[in-house]
Symmetry: C2
Amino acid sequence: MIIDKQSTILVVGLGLIGGSYAMALSKRGYTVFAVSKEQDDIDYAKEKGIIKDGSTEVDSKFISNADIIIFALYPHIFVDWMKKYGQYISPGTLITDVTGVKGAVIDRINDFVPEGAEFIAAHPMAGKEVYGVQNADDGIFHDANFIIVPTRDNTPSAIEKCRLLGEILGFKTISYLNPKQHDEMVAFLSQLTHCIAVSLMCANGDPNLVNYTGDSFRDLTRIANINEEMWSELFLLNKQALLYEMDCYRVCFDKLYNAINDGDEQTIKSMMRLSTARRKMFNKDGK
Amino acid sequence: MIIDKQSTILVVGLGLIGGSYAMALSKRGYTVFAVSKEQDDIDYAKEKGIIKDGSTEVDSKFISNADIIIFALYPHIFVDWMKKYGQYISPGTLITDVTGVKGAVIDRINDFVPEGAEFIAAHPMAGKEVYGVQNADDGIFHDANFIIVPTRDNTPSAIEKCRLLGEILGFKTISYLNPKQHDEMVAFLSQLTHCIAVSLMCANGDPNLVNYTGDSFRDLTRIANINEEMWSELFLLNKQALLYEMDCYRVCFDKLYNAINDGDEQTIKSMMRLSTARRKMFNKDGK
């Protein structure tokens, strides 16, 4: 199976991720259109060759002509959009997304997918701490992971087409998780890390710290620069899994706290040895 | 004041930091000798022009000929060394260090500094997650902070000489903190961040995580690859300040936990706005 170069791809939501998808697909010869709320974003993307054309209006012809539709919207806007305009999607269209939580989204989306079209959820584990199509950069996918999140309702051909999409976008590793596994993984790897960075940054307001810091604090708090609208929505949509991961992490943090308090060098060292061994697996290029 | 190019500088402890100091000083034309426990490290450093010569023996002439001695040892080894060999240091010698805690170290060192010599503590806020003189790289100082930690016993000329040393090494920003301020700062910026990374890495042992992760988790846990001998010693020597910072951080983490649990979007968002505003100050090059 291939994704035909004659395919028409519609990106809904020209932000950093939607824009980077559009950029990657246009570079590889696909015809990409966009629907997005700001005319400036459409104009910029057209001028830079990121899309062929776009509209701030949700034009029914635009939607019905698309072979693949990629949604890069906040979860609640995605659901609202499908509720209003899902009816214009043609049979045979493959719908996918980039949403950061799945359990709370997939069922609600499927309610508005017309007969003959199919929604296959996906999550590109890539990003930057900047926003907007003006920062679009398909290079962010190259060393990154792509997660496909099928349900038992998905067809093998839609799953395979989504895998091809991840390949075309340039992702290094493509994996499959069910919605529950995905949300647990994301709670730990992504949401908990953002909770940690935000909490750490809130814990000390000394404006001189920048003159004393090393890179460890800088790297750890990079993601404390956070879009509060998007992330508060993602946290609350995945509340149960996130609270569970926060609990597990707190158990380890408290264990380390108590070991320091007790002068229990053996426990401190054994935690450090475990963290060192585990962290090595995450090094890029085996380094 | 300048540091005379004819000065003889002795580095005690040729690890990553001692080696990087030696490399920077040799490049700038100073004559650098080293005392270190492994002959291989001495040989490597000599061969690469990082030092002029070195010895695994603590030779009294080596020590007494030095104008400046830089200690890059674990805290307890530094203290033991001074106890045994401090007597060989000549009057007029400037002694400095790179030790990560100060309150627990400075007074003990001063007990063994001979009349006419002077110890001025300093802390280069730079490093890597690799060890040894074989990884020495004076580039790590270029965008980094250098903290001088004078006490009321230090003379203005020693403080100024230490500032010049930081300048010669290539540090971007040089600041002054007293030992208590230093240890509080380091507890927050460095030790707490390492506690967080270690705890996070200990909280989940799923070997598949590497196929799902994004860069936020990678960046946050870079320092979970940790030298347990050195860091457990640093933690315990700065126990009071570290536990205080762990407490403050936990208050913020718990506040965020409760807000998520309560669905209190306003508190979540206000913490995120605060963290975003504060984090912007830490961006390099104003980005």
